[in-house]
């Protein structure tokens, strides 16, 4: 029971109140780069999930063997191993997706979000806790990434699922042809959309904090 409560708390923090992208603002480079279509986001999100989960477990298993001095180096090495594996799997099973993600798959190895989770959390916790934390943080990362992808693809090109669904992989058309704002698919659109998403998160979090403070004041009275 207690465990379940704890996981729920962690889930809330990872997905929302301490979301790695929207609140902690880490690992932004792949988020901005691949978020032009929903399929890219799914591919990237799953890769990050797999890499972070596996590296967290391995780092937690090795935490007593690794000398403190080489902690960061070992974390990078473990992550690089799983990134290489993920890259190979993507390349052999989903070659078009792997081409579109390009160099951003190998760059997962130096993602600051993954490094900070393995290095600060997995290195100090038991295997099960590390696995849960890795999965939750990666889910939060993937959720923010998918949100950004959905907004950019829907408003930018008026489709969803381009490259996977629809006739010839063109995606399912939701807005009429030519209604999209092309700028959102350009690199500039990544910056602008992420800015709006982070601003919205900051607004909601501030409102929540204000509400909590007001409720506490009322309880005191």
């Amino acid at each position: 029971m207690k465990m379940r409560m704890k996981i729920r708390q962690q889930l809330k923090e990872g997905l929302f109140t301490r979301n790695p992208v929207l609140v902690q603002q880490m690992g932004l480079c792949p988020v901005l780069a691949v978020s032009t279509s929903l399929c890219n986001g799914i591919g990237m999100g799953l890769s990050v999930l797999a890499v972070l989960l596996c590296s967290s477990v391995i780092v937690a298993l090795l935490r007593k063997i690794i000398p403190d001095r080489f902690r960061v180096l070992c974390c990078i090495a473990v992550t690089a191993i799983f990134t290489t594996a993920a890259g190979q799997l993507l390349q052999s099973f989903f070659p078009p997706l792997s081409d579109r993600l390009g160099i951003y798959v190998p760059l997962i190895a130096l993602n600051s979000m993954i490094l900070s989770r393995t290095e600060t959390f997995a290195f100090r916790s038991r295997v099960d806790a590390a696995a849960v934390d890795g999965a939750v943080q990666a889910l939060g990362y993937a959720m923010a990434l998918l949100l950004l992808c959905a907004v950019r693809e829907l408003l930018g090109s008026g489709t969803l699922g381009g490259g996977l669904l629809g006739a010839g992989g063109a995606g399912i058309r939701i807005l009429p042809e030519g209604a999209g704002l092309r700028v959102l698919v350009l690199p500039a659109g990544g910056f602008l959309t992420l800015a709006v998403l982070i601003a919205a998160t900051q607004y909601i979090l501030r409102r929540m904090a204000e509400k909590n403070a007001a409720a506490e004041k009322e309880a005191e009275l």
Binding site: Q25, M26, G27, L28, C29, P30, L32, A33, D68, R69, F70, R71, V72, L73, I76, A77, A80, I81, T83, T84, G87, Q88, G102, I103, P106, L107, A109, L110, N111, S112, L115, S116, E119, T120, V183, L186, P187, A188, G189, G190, F191, L192, L194, A195, V196, I198, A199, A200, Q202, Y203, R206
Partner: protein, 206 residues
């Protein structure tokens, strides 16, 4: 290999495919270290050196070690190793003659340091440096082209971060909506600069 192709590699890396505004490499370090002009310039210069060296080393390793041994799948691993060593070396070389400059450059923080907080800046920039290494070998450049590509990518990074720091210094005194304070407004201005940079797309030298 002629002058025109070298020029187009260089212009592409500096303007059309600018590392920050079109490829987003080193995005986090760029947003963190661009608050004042002098940290931005120091950081940009350090990254430029690292990128040039990484591009050359990656090409050499690829050509003389990985391809002959058919170990191309270890590319990522090998490059990370080089980059970590490079950062170490830069630290050793710079700490003695320029101890005051060292923290400013942000590269004295290496992968061996015990505290993560101190380490993240270097990890974030090494993401961009790894990006240069991967791009220069994956796009099949010749040796001279990869040298030019490394230097130009670094110059593009420097240009971007200096431009952005100038904008950012003015943003400090601006009155923006509360929810946009901090990163969002920085991202909006980065987006506007990126929009300007997208005008360079399709720039070609014949």
């Amino acid at each position: 290999m002629n002058l025109a192709s070298l020029l187009s590699v260089a212009l592409g890396a500096i303007l059309a495919d600018n590392f920050i505004f079109s490829r987003f490499l080193g995005g986090s370090s760029f947003l963190d270290n661009s608050k004042t002009l002098d940290t931005a310039a120091g950081m940009g210069l350090a990254v430029m050196c690292a990128m040039s060296a990484a591009s050359v080393l990656a090409w050499l390793i690829d050509k003389f070690v990985l391809i002959p041994l058919r170990l191309e799948f270890l590319q990522t691993f090998a490059y990370i190793l080089i980059i970590v060593c490079l950062v170490q070396l830069a630290e050793l070389l710079l700490r003695k003659p320029l101890p005051a400059l060292c923290p400013k450059l942000g590269i004295c923080l290496s992968a061996f340091c015990p505290k993560l907080d101190a380490c993240l800046p270097s990890v974030r920039t090494s993401c961009a440096v790894l990006g240069v290494a991967l791009l220069s070998t994956r796009s099949g450049l010749t040796f001279v082209e990869s040298v030019v590509f490394g230097v130009a990518a670094g110059a593009g990074f420097l240009l971007a971060i200096v431009l952005f720091a100038c904008v950012r210094e003015r943003l400090e005194y601006s009155d923006c909506p509360k929810s946009f304070e901090g990163l969002p407004i920085a991202l909006v201005s980065a987006g506007l600069i990126a929009l300007a940079f997208s005008g360079f797309a399709g720039l070609q030298i014949r």
